[in-house]
Amino acid sequence: MQDVQRKIREEAKKLLAARSVDLIIGFEEASLPLRASPVFIHNEDDVEALVWNCFCENNLATYLTKVAGRKVAVVAKGCDSRSIVALIVEGQIKREEIIVIGIPCQGMVDRRKIEKEVQGEILEAGEKNDEVSVRGDDFEGVFKKEDYLYPSCRTCEYHSPVISDILIGEKIKENTELDEYAETIEYEKKSINERREYFGREMGKCIRCYACRQACPMCYCEECFVDNSYPKWIEKGLDLSDLAAWHIMRAYHQAGRCVDCGSCERACPMEVNLRFLTRKINKEVKDYFDFETGLDIKAPPPLTTFSPDDRQDFIHSGEESTGESRGD
């Protein structure tokens, strides 16, 4: 980790010194323990602020749409790099304006899970090899990283960046053996009442702060449907049916676009289980269209295209129609 951090600083310094980029987006030490903050570095003298550790949990691709038009280098984990590809495919950023400093990622540590293990406030935290150590006023604790990874990191297939201009660290093999959607499939088996209940309970926690949206690289809309006032799609309050509508549509808007980085969920102050929605969407996109987001810079987003042979077993098509193109 120290090694990776040193190299990030070196590369950043080189890029800024050579004026190859105007800006480096990376992570710096945060003011709170168990966290790292996104940082924007313009000056080669400031590169020492850059850090790399198991708390670098934000998806930095989120900032790219905000600095489009400038030459930017960005530190990217596997998931961040897939979001970068997705943004390029959607025409939001230009490949030639971005230098990807790719870092094969070992997984990020779930700060809330650790916080729940200790009594009292954690005042200091550090990372050493495979462990995270924490300290508070009258306690200390050491946790094995592997047992405290974020759920999204535990089901991550692509730890290594899918695109990079500078790669720091050893590539990690793709984990395609993983039964990625096991949990989603389990959930599908529950009764309709159980599913409805759980969804209502979970979304009922939402306070509509929209942090999930702000954290997501794909929620770059200038005006989100939820903020529209003409037409006003949904009411502004906390009526459960409005919360449901917000979450159904937010998740739906991610179809073919979500990389399951988990940033939305981490940003949520109410710990709403958001990935349980987006993962279902991702699973359907994979089942129906054989598509995974952010792997191929040439593949169009699945909902912007079609195949005449797309499955349509869910549509009443009448006996006369076989689902194939008729009469042309």
Binding site: E197, W233, L277, Q312, H316
Partner: protein
Amino acid sequence: MKEREPKILAFLCNWCSYAGADLAGVSRIQYPPNVRVIRVPCSSRINPFFIVKALQQGIDGVLVAGCHPGDCHYISGNYVARRKFAIIKSFLEYIGIEKDRVQFAWISAAEGLRFAEVIKEVTEKVRGLGPIRKWGKIRRV
């Protein structure tokens, strides 16, 4: 107490399904009066939010109908729409909305009889499910 009649909202594409409904009408084919029709230019005009919004507002079932594949007035509108429909349909079922509450059909301008049959089928299925249960209270607009 008598069960409330199910309310069904049908989004019909102007060029095929709406004409199919019209044909059913002029041919005096009987079908259940539970359906309220909204005419749209093409099935691809349907933002899945229309469906969600209808259910949120207390509609018991939604039918979306458009031209058969290959027959869309705008060439590929229904192909693109089909992809959106596939995702929203599975997703709504996943979060606990019975699958028969949201149905899709291809109905041509010549299929007046079929239009009536689809409406019958959808109405019966939705009736079987009973009135839609609301998440929390709803406001009437």
